[in-house]
């Protein structure tokens, strides 16, 4: 009797089960808790028609030519202290090969406060540039031709104001709004969910977002009106699936709001953009990006009936994960960032920010910032990963994981729908609780050493030498305060107060507020004054916090 040879897969399975496993207690699931098999084979490859880049549902990429046609934009987020200092840093980065600008604002600016407000004390210029009025914006972009570059502005509640300031600066340079390109973060829903930089309650906040989308569709058509963000949700402690699902759900909520305003889907959908985290669990991130494109394309085409291809294509910016960086042995962050950036590139991102190694402690030094940029250049020009489009397409593992991410996201969409949509879910603290639970779970895993952070809970060293970090000169705070007071003194008071009262009246009505805000900006009304005019009508929001 002939002995039949074992089927090779079966053989592998039996041999694997008979072999010894590592006994270090480290989790073998993804960092988000998705269980992983030790091996994926052809049996795990989802049965579907082969997908191709540039073709619906764009799992393999939205562009036919991938990075062969155009590399991702190297867009390093930057900004600190004063507009003048930041202007210097921008020119430095542009000279060193950065291809787009990205503005980080300081806390008072993000929160719609002027530098001389009492609650701004101690907060000026620390995490970004202080912008109080059009005057600061003019200094920020002095000598930088807005018609030739694209700029991303990371700001949310006061986003409409900053966009108007950008438009007004361009006007002074002789560049019309129709020629301006860039992105406004402008994603207020994720503020309620994760970053907590909200000011107005949800309804008027959404109105402002829709106003800006509607305005730009006509006046600033090349502008990406919103950067629907998962980054902050992830940084707040969510899993990859939550990041994916909550972000796309937010996107759909914005689409719904715009449709309710009476806009046609194809008039605005192509200008919606996204912003994801690139965390350290390498393959999970790649699967997440691919799933995001597929889900969004399906929903845009099948659920919303968008007709134009560009409405189906999800475009995204990525930032490597801030929370994965360590203060201990920080040089290792260079390696972490490189790996995370690689995941973003293999996931097909349109633009990328790589963190500097010293960012756990403070804003990056020139040297660290340059190194972060060089990391992207290394990926683009030395590693060869840009030579083939979606190189991991067809991988048994990556395709299976992509499908799993998509499945988990759909489960969340259903739950959000059951709660009545994104805003009711926010008010019920649904997202916030999921995030807090995930964050705590991960922390416990770290404490139990089921997951490691090298240098932190394992492979530690004592007596590390201090890292040189960038310090903000405290004198800059008082200078900024003096500057805003000077602007208030010097401007045409009548023009300014007229503009503000017209804005206030419009806020109480249903007009699109963008033209009113633009006029106030031109009249050198300060950010705080413009915000206050709207607060007087909209009120402010206090969250129902869950721990």
């Amino acid at each position: 009797m002939k002995v039949r040879a074992r089927d090779s897969k079966q053989a592998w399975k039996e041999d694997f089960e008979a072999s010894a496993a590592r006994d270090d207690g480290i989790e073998t699931s993804t960092i988000s808790g998705v269980p992983l098999k030790p091996l994926y084979t052809g049996d795990d490859l989802p049965r579907r028609e082969e997908e191709l880049p540039g073709q619906f549902p764009y799992t393999r990429g939205i562009h036919t030519s991938g990075y062969r046609g155009r590399l991702w934009t190297m867009r390093q987020f930057s900004g600190f202290a004063t507009a003048e200092e930041t202007n210097r840093r921008y020119k430095y980065l542009l000279a060193n090969g950065q291809t787009g600008l990205s503005v980080a604002f300081d806390m008072p600016t993000l929160m719609g406060q002027d530098s001389d407000a009492p609650t701004s004390r101690g907060e000026i210029g620390h995490c970004g540039v202080a912008i109080d009025s059009l005057a600061d914006m003019e200094t920020l972009f002095d000598g930088i031709p807005l018609g030739d570059i694209t700029t991303s502005m990371t700001i949310n509640s006061p986003a409409a104001i900053l966009l108007c300031m950008y438009i007004a600066v361009a006007e002074k340079q002789g560049v019309s709004a129709s020629g301006l390109g860039g992105t406004l973060q402008n994603d207020i829903l994720k503020e309620f969910i994760a970053q907590k930089e909200f000011i107005f309650p949800p309804a008027p906040s959404m109105r402002l977002v829709v106003d800006s989308i509607e305005y730009c569709a006509k006046e600033v058509p090349k502008w990406n009106t919103i950067s629907i963000s998962g980054y902050h949700i992830r940084e707040a402690g969510s899993t990859a699936a939550q990041e994916l699902a909550f972000t796309l759900a937010d996107g759909m909520a914005y689409v719904d709001a715009c449709l309710e305003r009476g806009m046609h889907i194809d008039d605005f959908a192509s200008r919606l953009s996204f912003f994801f985290d690139a965390h350290i669990d390498f393959f999970e991130e790649i699967a997440k990006f691919r799933a995001a494109r597929r889900i969004w394309a399906r929903w845009m085409k099948e659920r919303y009936g968008a007709q134009q291809e560009r409405s189906w294509k999800l475009r995204f910016h990525t930032q490597t994960a801030g929370v994965s960086l360590t203060a201990q042995q920080p040089e290792l962050n260079i390696a972490r960032t490189a790996i995370e950036a690689l995941a973003a590139v293999l996931g097909g991102t349109q633009s990328l920010h790589t963190n500097a190694m010293d960012e756990v402690l403070a804003l990056p030094t020139d040297k660290a910032a340059r190194l972060a940029l060089r990391t992207q250049q290394l990926l683009a020009y030395e590693t060869g990963v840009a030579n083939t489009i979606d190189p991991l397409g067809g991988s048994y593992f990556v395709e299976a994981l992509t499908d799993e991410m998509e499945r988990q996201a759909e489960v969340y969409f259903k739950r959000i729908e059951e709660l009545g949509g994104v805003i009711p879910a926010i008010e019920a603290s649904f997202f916030q609780k999921e995030i807090a639970d995930a964050a705590f779970r991960y922390q416990q895993e770290l404490e139990q050493k089921r997951r490691l952070m090298v240098g932190v809970n394992e492979f530690t060293v004592n007596d590390e030498p201090p890292i040189e970090i960038l310090r903000i000169d405290p004198k800059l705070e008082s200078e900024q305060v003096a500057r805003v007071r000077e602007v208030r003194k010097k401007r045409d008071q009548a023009r300014c107060s007229n503009a503000l009262s017209r804005l206030k009246k419009a806020a109480a009505g249903t007009d699109n507020l963008m033209p009113y805000i633009l006029e106030a900006v031109r009249a050198y009304a300060t950010e705080g004054e413009i915000m206050q005019s709207m607060i007087d009508v909209f009120g402010t929001y206090t969250e129902q916090a869950v721990v």
């Binding site: 206090t542 129902q544 916090a545 721990v547």
Partner: protein, 286 residues
């Protein structure tokens, strides 16, 4: 504490005490926040005592009521004390009653007590508050039938919160039916003269708060005019004395067993807890 107690006996002010109880998620804190806002508009000073359960395993707690009342931060006429139930089965720690007397002595016009409805805490609140408000919501699982025994008896006012949610009228109707059928009795056993009103509120929009407060005041007038208020007050002092005695006895027994190994050994070997307890309590304290 005892000296202070004696001094306070002579304190003039007796604030009204209203207690709120209800299942977690019924919106009690939001309701209390809205009530405080209303009372402040009348320039009344308010003290809030909010209780959350402690973990029975670790003893710790996240006391989450203060954060629901952010807008009253720095208002000198609003005082908020978050308390852990501290293993006290009834949900209110023993210190709460002392705290309430102190708050009265310090001159607060109104005292609001809030506790989460787990275990026997509804009964606890009723033993402490002049007026007990029970808060229900439309999405409370299987409806009013699931409400624990005792609620009908202790509630002086019913609030159906989140009245903007579908299903709230059903809760109101079911409640009305139960009340008419049950003819609830007071804690003393006699049939109640007071018919608890049912108030609907949307606490997050501050709707129905005025009606709620009016109902509380109406109940207070009833307590005053019927003499029931005084009788309850006396009964409470007796009950509280008994509870303090129980707590003191408990401490004595625990300490004795910890400090006297011989006694503990005998307990383990041959004696019953009853005998041991009596032996300890018969000893002179100290």
């Amino acid at each position: 504490m005892r000296d202070l107690e004696q001094e306070l006996r002579h304190a003039q002010k007796t604030p009204g005490v209203v207690g709120f109880t209800g299942a977690p998620g019924s919106g009690k804190s939001t309701l209390v926040d809205a009530l405080v806002h209303l009372l402040r508009k009348q320039d009344l000073s308010v003290a809030v005592l909010a209780t959350d359960p402690n973990s029975p395993y670790t003893g710790g707690a996240i006391l989450g009521d203060r954060i629901r009342m952010q807008r009253h931060a720095l208002d000198p006429k609003v005082f908020i004390r978050s308390m852990g139930a501290r293993g006290h089965l009834g949900g209110l720690s023993l210190a709460s009653r002392e705290a309430i007397r102190l708050l009265g002595a310090f001159g607060f016009d109104q005292v609001v007590v809030e506790t989460v409805g787990v275990g026997q805490s509804e009964l606890e609140v009723a033993a402490v508050a002049d007026t007990t408000v029970v808060v229900l919501t439309p999405n409370q699982g299987d409806g009013v039938q699931m409400i624990k025994a005792g609620i009908l008896e202790i509630a002086d006012v019913f609030v159906v919160n989140k009245a903007d949610i579908e299903g709230h009228m059903r809760v109101v109707t079911e409640l009305r039916t139960m009340l008419s059928l049950a003819a609830p009795r007071s804690l003393g056993g006699e049939p109640r003269a007071w018919k608890p009103p049912i108030i609907t509120t949307v606490a997050s929009r501050e709707e129905g708060i005025g009606e709620l407060w009016a109902a509380v005041l109406e109940h207070r007038r009833h307590l005053e005019s019927s003499g029931l208020g005084r009788r309850l007050h006396e009964q409470r002092l007796k009950d509280e004395t008994a509870e303090v005695a129980a707590e003191l006895a408990r401490e004595r027994v625990r300490r004795a067993l910890d400090e006297d190994p011989g006694l503990a050994a005998r307990l383990f070997d041959e004696r019953t807890p009853y005998n041991t307890a009596e032996e300890i309590l018969d000893r002179k304290p100290g």
